[in-house]
């Protein structure tokens, strides 16, 4: 139950891709028919992604990863608009690729302001309004958080940015294909989407860039993707991304309803069966597939490995499981103390999660929790 980390490629996508790597291999820049066949597949993919979010095809560019799209959005806007100002606003719960890009921009002379979040991880649009100043060139707030699933008031934040004449970027890697997105209605200028979070292959992502937006490339080369992302186009991955998007779009309402029911069953079950368990993130304004808890007197890595032995995959914000031995910045931002973040568990559901699997988690998890508490000095006598 770790669909939030990566999703398998849907077999229907694989079927569509069947002959791609060996037959549709042309360089989209070549004029011969091999190249032109690849070019046609690329443009078809662009149309599909544009349609998914209510954009124009020429407003979509393809990149290699959501990390790359987010880097391009932040750095590309920053350097293209530095005549206007050097101030950028981000949320404190962004994915590291946004947070670290902002940190690097700070070292290059840009001023970064981080918004606050409440206990659920929600941004207050009024704070965005207060913080925008003459020098502000960009606001970047993710659509839905990857750890706690909280969905941000993007439309309201976008409206404020629009009124103030500031570019608005949102990282929708976790939400595109799960929540209907309309870049017009939601006042979005730049949006990041990721293939590998929506049952498409790895190695493809997109960045929506509203027509007329001033942005610089961060790579320089042969002029692919309107000069904004030079590199030979990874046509198989992109075509797979587009085919996966079609499936998401077709099933979005039904699948979201199904997952919400499963998610709520999981959350209710865990809270009822396990003493000292708490929900992280917003109870309602959250991704249909995301459940995130913290448990008293539990260390997340031990919990994950126990679950893994029982055949259940999850993830944690515990410091002990991270490469830097730091607890999750998202959990700390919503007010959890490090010892509480240690005990966090994220379970993310997906297209093949069944009600039976939820039952299995609800059966196995309480036992694992009490076993770990049993060997801990914090157990109640």
């Amino acid at each position: 139950m770790d669909y939030g980390a990566a999703t398998p490629v849907d077999s229907r996508v694989l079927k569509k891709l069947g002959r791609f790597p060996s037959e549709v291999f042309g360089n989209t820049m070549s004029l011969h028919s091999f190249g032109q066949e690849a070019k046609a597949a690329l443009e078809e993919s662009r149309d599909i992604l544009a349609d998914l979010m209510g954009a124009k095809p020429q407003e979509i560019i393809f990149t290699g990863s959501a990390t790359e799209s987010n880097n391009l959005a932040l750095k590309g806007i920053a350097f293209a608009n530095k005549e206007k100002g050097n101030h950028i606003i981000i949320s404190p719960i962004e994915h590291p690729c946004v947070g670290e890009s902002a940190k690097w921009l700070e070292s290059q002379g840009f001023e970064i302001t981080k918004l606050k979040v409440d206990q659920y991880g929600l941004i207050d649009p009024k704070e965005v309004e207060r913080l925008i100043k003459k020098e502000t060139i960009l606001v970047s707030v993710m659509h839905a958080n990857n750890e706690i699933g909280t969905i941000e008031p993007i439309e309201e934040i976008g409206k404020i940015c629009r009124e103030k004449g500031v570019y608005f970027h949102t990282d929708a890697a976790q939400s595109l294909g799960k929540i209907p997105i309309d870049v017009e209605k939601m006042n979005i200028d730049l949006l990041t989407g990721s293939s590998q979070k929506m049952y498409g292959p790895k190695g493809a992502a997109c960045l929506f860039i509203r027509e007329g937006t001033k942005i610089n490339p961060i790579l320089h080369g042969g002029g692919q993707e309107f000069g904004l992302r030079p590199s030979t186009v990874n046509i198989s991955a992109i075509y797979g991304f587009a085919q996966a998007s079609l499936l998401c779009k077709k099933e979005i309402v039904k699948e979201s309803k199904r997952l919400t029911q499963l998610r709520d069953k999981l959350i209710k079950g865990v809270m009822a069966k396990i003493e000292g368990s708490y929900l992280n993130g917003h109870p309602i304004k959250r991704l249909s597939n995301n459940a995130n808890f913290w448990f008293e007197f539990i260390e997340g890595e031990s919990l994950l490995i126990q679950l893994d032995m029982a055949g259940i995959a999850g993830s944690t914000g515990s410091a002990c499981s991270s490469a830097k031995l730091q607890p999750s910045h998202v959990l700390l931002a919503i007010g959890l103390r490090p010892q509480e973040a240690h005990g966090s568990l994220r379970l993310t559901l997906g297209r093949w999660t069944t009600s039976k699997e939820i039952d299995r988690v609800l059966k196995v998890l309480p036992g694992i929790i009490s076993q770990l508490r049993e060997i801990s000095p914090f157990k109640k006598n």
Partner: protein
Amino acid sequence: MVKGIYSKKVMAHFKKPHNYGKIKNADGIGNVGNLVCGDVMRLYIKIGKNKNKQEIIKDIKFETFGCVAAIATSSAITDLAKGKTLEEAAKISKTQIVDSLGELPPIKMHCSVLASDALVEAIYDYLSKNKKEISQDLAVKHERIAKEKEETEKRYKDWTDMEKKMLG
């Protein structure tokens, strides 16, 4: 199954930890680690005597809150220490613990230090409570551990206060 980040021996200890739990009326208790960093280890020892009338660790149990490595090293040190004289037990090094487990991921090496520190503290606790002679080596180790504990407590004052309350 795919090989994970931990060795087979580490996983075996983690799945079925040896000697966990409390010893009522323990002769010595060692408390190390803290909740903010994510590992809290408590070792209980019961002292007996061998044929040569030397004091040995007759029984040892642990309680640990922490990651897989913290639990496995706790379990491993109870195996290593049981039956040893106090002098021998106090000298169990982190290398011995790691060796007995096969290997530990580099980032988890500090967990093995924690286990040997816990044993040092338990032995020190027993000797000082009973006004017995404490070797210089043991005294130096205890001072280092106490100093580290003090520094962490200063750094995370609010949090460690809560931890103390929870431990009772």
